[in-house]
Amino acid sequence: MPVTLSALVKQFGRFAALRGVDGEFDAARFYVILGDNGAGKTTLLRALAGLAQPTRGTISILGKNPHEACREIGYMAHPSLLYDEMSGLENLRYFARLYDISGDSRCEQVIRWVGLDPELSRPVGNYSQGMRQRMSLARAILHDPKILLLDEPFSNVDVHSAQEMVGLLKAMRDAGKTIFVVTHQASLLEGVADEFIWMQAGKIVDRTSGLTRSAAQ
């Protein structure tokens, strides 16, 4: 299994954000993580990305811990993780260096792939929210990771842009990427997601296949 969680607990002081999360997740599948605010969705994603150290339990990503597997993980957070004062290409050039990617060709390729223009010279701070989300996605996939962790990728994005982003994610899943999306807009992913994971009070309480959910509706 590319991603395995075992009795994962994450505590912040006395508050337990994750309370024993177990699960196995297949490759080339599209997982949508749903739940109310405070259910532990973002903490789970941050733990998978290696940003939140588990208090107890283990995370195995392609047989390694998240830090060791960092080249195989692409992470898109709710904030853009981009420098507002630099253009999209300048941002990606910098992040490419962190992954030992040299030259502009890969940066330009991913910018075009998310539907933006690499020649756009204005700073990211002047982008619309939709453009910023796309550029954020471009940063997350820059190093061609096998596993994508996306936190609220459609928030504050208009329906048309969100649908275009869903199309991009579907193409990535079809190309063999394992995708985890945390969202409150599950309807956007009907017919695309392979599995819906429900979280409540720091636990996975239900896993429904995409087909079952679509049929039920």
């Binding site: 080249r71 420098y83 300048e90 260096r97």
Partner: protein, 225 residues
């Protein structure tokens, strides 16, 4: 090693580009230092001999306070849009980020010193009676002592609620040996009062010890939640 060097250079270049565009840190530091020079020159009216005795203290305390402005800006930029998380999830070494930030601050504070030193000379009518060239190693080693600890403690106080207050509270006490060395060395060189060698060697030792400690501990600070 090549990865460490290339990521350090890429991060340093990015930081210089961002500072060049915003000039946040440089403008604040310049205005602050200028105010210190002017206010002190109005407050005291020393003769040439008195100036040589007090100038070391005035200059280095002014630069220490001004450096805090730059040091606070260093990491603030990484907190906007949580960009630091993008670095934390990458395979890039933590030491590259630390070195780039420390070097960036060193360049900024050195630039400030180069711009402000002539003003100090004019306002306080300074003329070195000792070997003036020794002020160069004092400035270089002293500036590195301030920024290496400052960069480290600014990162440590990143996640605290009142980080702008925390930084001086952490930095100033640990900088006392360095500041004392800088002030004494400067006083000796300006007054021509013996050799500043002891204080320069002390500064060098301080730099080596604290640079090693900061490099060794920075990974823990970066990955702290």
């Amino acid at each position: 090693m090549s990865s460490l060097r290339s990521i350090t250079v890429a991060t340093l270049t990015k930081d210089i580009r961002l500072e060049w565009r915003s000039k946040d840190a440089l403008n604040s530091m310049l205005f602050f230092s200028l105010l210190v020079v002017v206010i002190f020159s109005f407050s005291f009216d020393p003769n040439a001999e008195e100036s040589r005795e007090i100038a070391g203290g005035l200059i280095w305390v002014a630069f220490l306070f001004a450096a805090v402005v730059a040091l606070n800006q260093t990491w603030a930029r990484e907190l906007r849009n949580q960009v630091l998380d993008a670095y934390r999830v990458s395979p890039a070494p933590a030491t590259a980020l630390f070195l780039a930030k420390a070097l960036g601050n060193f360049i900024l504070v050195s630039l400030l010193e180069a711009l402000m030193a002539p003003l100090f000379v004019i306002f306080y009518n300074l003329r070195a009676l000792g070997p003036a060239w020794q002020l160069i190693p004092v400035a270089l080693l002293g500036t590195w002592a301030l920024v290496v600890n400052g960069t480290f403690f600014a990162a440590m106080s990143l996640r605290t609620r009142s980080r702008e207050i925390m930084l001086p509270l952490l930095l100033f006490p640990i900088s006392i040996p360095a500041v004392q060395s800088m002030v004494e060395a400067t006083r000796i060189i300006l007054a021509g009062d013996g050799s500043a060698r002891f204080w320069i060697v002390l500064l060098l030792t301080y730099d080596v010890v604290f640079t090693t400690a900061c490099l060794g501990l920075f990974e823990t600070v970066l990955q702290a939640e």
